[in-house]
Amino acid sequence: MAAEDHVASGDLRIAAEAGRPFIEVRGLTAAYDAKIVVRDVSFSVTAGEHLSLLGPSGCGKSTTLRCIAGLETPVEGEIVIDSEVVFSSQRRINVPTEKRKLSMVFQSYAIWPHMTVFENVAYGLRTQGVRDAEVRNEALRALRMVGMEELAHSSATALSGGQQQRVALARSYACRPKAILLDEPLSNLDARLRTRMREELRELQRQFQLSTIYVTHDQEEAMAMSDRVIVMRDGRIEQEGPPLEIYDRPQSRFVADFIGAANIVSGRIRQPGSGQPIILDVEGTAIECAPRAQLPRPHADGSYMVAVRAVYAELRRDAVPALANHWPATIERRTLLGDLVTYAVRWPGGTLRVHGFPNDLFDEGSSVHLHIPSVRAILVDAD
């Protein structure tokens, strides 16, 4: 409910801004030594939008972020922040980091060990030449937001990981930046703390409505916090869209694999006729797939791939013969994961991973009926 409200207000806000991009990256290419790590990447962030750059390590996401911050100099491309061109290879513009009026949270937090918590947070304000009284107010306000007010005058080295994280967040919000860049800010925290900080970050984001670019390799983080997600791979953008769209309609096998648990089934296309549903033939078993304007890129051997999310495949005790994509199957193995149960299900097309819930368990070896709704069978680009 709350999330829906937020999406609604977000939509209004974006509408008010008339979709004007606040940060724009065009044709960004970055390299170190001879190795190109970001290739011709273009995207934009609207005002107040939370964008995540998601991908495995080495995909170029951090480099992209650092180029926006001005910590790396791209080989080519253009970066515009709030209508100001901060980098342009053609026009030979390169605004230094400190003049870009951004703020950044580092993976290592980068809390200065020789300063107190307060001095860390006040640093950005002081560089802006803000008056002392105001610096005090603003810094303390930022610390209050993250619940660190009491520790304002303790040494920064005495803090735990979670506390350092909070100080880093307070520091980046306190200096009233145009946008906030976060480089894997939660990856050094343990799982429980990570979940909590995720909520807190989302809350801060909601309060300040600042444009945010968030780099992560954790799909959960990206899903939970973003208005839009860009999945990167080998220095390129693989797919871009709202979290649910990326989850439901992965473009490629890579995205399907990287986000969530998906089964990849490959076979031959039968009947690519007009108006007819696309049928994938998996060793004699026909799967009806979600409609698609164009066929995806096939594998080198000519086969096509379909991604089926483990949560979207359904197991039933009784047959519903009227349904399409409906087969008798056997539970081969059951693994209890806590909140989820995962089954290895033997069906005519091979073995499928299917998620269920612990409230309705199927026994190993039992016969079931497998149903894959045709809208959940997504044809994807092969690698």
């Binding site: 970055a30 390299a31 170190y32 030594d33 790590v37 495995p56 390590s57 080495g58 951090s62 480099t63 650092r66 911050a69 001005g70 910590l71 790396e72 100099t73 390169n94 230094p96 980091t97 400190e98 003049k99 870009r100 009026k101 951004l102 703020s103 950044m104 580092f106 993976q107 290592s108 980068a110 200065w112 060990p113 020789h114 640093y123 950005g124 560089t127 802006q128 040494s155 080295t157 520091r171 200096c175 860049l181 894997e184 990856s187 050094n188 390799h217 954790d218």
Partner: protein, 573 residues
């Protein structure tokens, strides 16, 4: 898993634009070292092949006659190797045991012993040789006199004027360096590596030999290499303890050839070249052994090494620590203080017979020693300041810039380590004499030589400091709107402060105690403490030379106290 993956990602972080240029941070230090190290080396080699007029510079005739005549004196080289190798092994063994007791066992008193064990190194071989000749001389050494008066046996207990004596004194005064280096590696070792060995059924001894020792090997070898080079160039101990027994090593032979009339420079240079070849061979062997080994393997993150409880062994290990402190610190300093208070060369235990006149003499009355003290302080301050500045610049360039040639710079910076200091100073002396500007016989020439010979040590220290400062600390300042100058002032320099001060004090101490590098370079008007103590030992009598050595020790101890204070304030941060 996720941390490891992202860590690898950040280490791949691309480098800044404009990487292709060779920055001033690279070529300035390179030019300095090429001139200050390369030219003396060339002169040394040229002189070694000089078969014409021994005074001619550059030589007019070249040949290998010097090396041929060196064949008659192979015992010099043999003695050098005997002493250096034995003392290196002994010092390394002492270092391993002490480091292990300090950092891997629960033997009490770690904080106290950590300090006490470190002190003999800055006190140095000169003080050590002087003190041990007063303690262990077969005729009137204090220990031998004590032994005779206690037992009535006339035979001396020990004779320090012997090969074992030389090896012993060299080893105990260089061992703290091994403790420092090996101890650092031991403190960083992930104890899970040892624990897993125990889990798989290995006993303490097996774990120590199969796991701990191999993991420590890079640190042990690196420290052994440093000690070996340092001992190849050792001068004070072999001279003061070996000359009586007509036992010559390469450095003492060079000194004798240099002092004789007419001086035989070419033969001395030939000995120097052979010594450098030997150290180069050692460096090569070291690199070969460590090939394919990465030091990084042993470093865990935030591990607090588990310490072994030694139970019944504790008293024995504690006794070993005490024994080391006794022979390397308490006895030497004690005998020097006692000797410095005497009216004559005989040691009297009765305080009423004591006098402070020796201190008055060396500090005030005698201009040479007075000057030497002042000059040494100046040199210490100068070497500390310029050496740390240069080392910081190089460390910064190597670890933080993308300048081409920064790896070369690092290797060249470490190169002086392969030169025995006395040999380097010998070549350096020729260089300053051959220069058209008046540099020979000035304090500035000594300063330059000190900076070059101590650069590897300073660089090693500052590298550790620079590497520890995470790059993102500076980047965070930039993103927060600080320009370069403000970043330096508010973030970089404050973070460097403690490390800079600690390394400054280290350079100060080893400059004040240095004798090998200044022996040929100091002279009338540019007296410095080390050579002054040495020449005083020849002529001044035990009480006065002891007083001078006590003054030197006091300066160094004051610096030790200062560095502990700094380390303390750093720990508080």
């Amino acid at each position: 898993m996720s941390v490891a993956a992202s860590g690898a990602g950040s280490s791949l972080a691309p480098q800044r634009h404009g990487a292709r240029r060779v920055g001033a941070g690279v070529w300035l230090p390179l030019a300095f070292l090429a001139a200050g190290l390369g030219y003396p080396f060339l002169l040394l080699v040229a002189n070694a092949f000089n078969v014409g007029d021994p005074q001619a510079l550059p030589p007019v005739e070249y040949g290998v006659a010097n090396f041929v005549s060196l064949l008659d004196h192979l015992d010099w080289i043999g003695n050098t190797l005997l002493v250096s190798i034995s003392a290196t092994i002994l010092a390394t063994a002492i270092g391993i045991v002490l480091a292990w007791i300090l950092y891997r066992t629960t033997v009490p008193g770690q904080r106290v012993f950590e300090i006490l064990i470190a002190i003999p190194y800055p006190l140095g071989p000169l003080v050590g040789a002087l003190a041990w000749s007063a303690l262990g001389s077969p005729q009137d050494g204090m220990l031998n006199q004590l032994f005779t008066s206690l037992t009535g046996i006339r035979e001396p207990l020990l004779n320090i004027y012997s090969v074992p004596g030389i090896i012993f004194v060299m080893a105990i005064f260089e061992a703290p360096f091994a403790v420092l280096m090996i101890g650092a590696a031991m403190q960083h070792m992930d104890s899970a590596l040892e624990e897993s060995s125990t889990v798989f059924g290995a006993g303490k001894l097996r774990t120590a030999f199969r796991i701990t020792l191999p993991l420590m090997l890079p640190a042990i070898l690196s420290s052994a290499l440093f000690l070996f080079t340092s001992m190849m160039g050792a001068f004070a101990i072999p001279t003061m303890l070996g000359t009586n027994a007509r036992f010559y090593v390469a450095t003492t032979a060079i000194y004798v050839l240099f002092q004789s009339y007419p001086p035989n420079y070419p033969l001395a240079a030939a000995i120097g070249v052979v010594l450098i070849l030997i150290t180069a061979l050692a460096v090569w062997l070291y690199a070969r052994v460590l090939k394919n080994r990465t030091h990084a393997v042993i470093f865990g993150r935030n591990y607090r090494p588990r310490r072994l409880s030694m139970r019944g062994w504790t008293p024995a290990l504690l006794a070993f620590e005490c024994l080391y402190v006794l022979v390397s610190l308490v006895l030497p300093l004690g005998v020097l203080v006692l000797a410095s208070l005497q009216k004559s060369g005989d040691l009297s235990w009765i305080p009423t017979n004591w006098t402070l006149s020796n201190f008055h003499y060396v500090l005030i009355d005698f201009p040479t020693t007075r000057e030497a003290i002042g000059n040494s302080l100046l040199l210490g301050i100068g070497t500390g300041t310029l050496g740390v500045a240069l080392a910081t610049t190089i460390a910064w360039t190597v670890h933080r810039s993308n300048s081409t040639g920064r790896r070369l710079l690092e290797q060249v910076t470490m190169l002086p380590q392969a030169f025995p200091r006395l040999i380097f100073a010998f070549g350096f002396m020729w260089m300053v004499m051959s220069l058209p500007i008046h540099l020979y016989g000035t304090l500035f020439a000594v300063l330059l030589a000190y900076i070059i010979v101590f650069l590897p040590l300073a660089y090693r220290g500052m590298s550790g400091v620079v590497v520890q400062i995470d790059r993102s600390l500076e980047e965070a300042a930039r993103v927060s709107g600080a320009h370069w100058g403000r970043m330096m002032r508010t973030v970089t320099l404050p973070l460097l402060r403690a490390g800079v001060l600690a390394n400054w004090v280290l350079l100060f101490m080893i400059s004040v105690r240095e004798v090998s590098a200044s022996l040929f370079l100091s002279g009338p008007g540019t007296q410095v403490l080390g050579p002054a103590i040495f020449s005083f030992w020849d002529s001044g009598g035990l009480p006065r030379v002891s007083a001078l050595a006590v003054v030197q020790a006091a300066i160094i101890l004051a610096a030790v106290v200062a560095v502990r204070r700094l380390a303390g304030s750093k720990a508080e941060q």
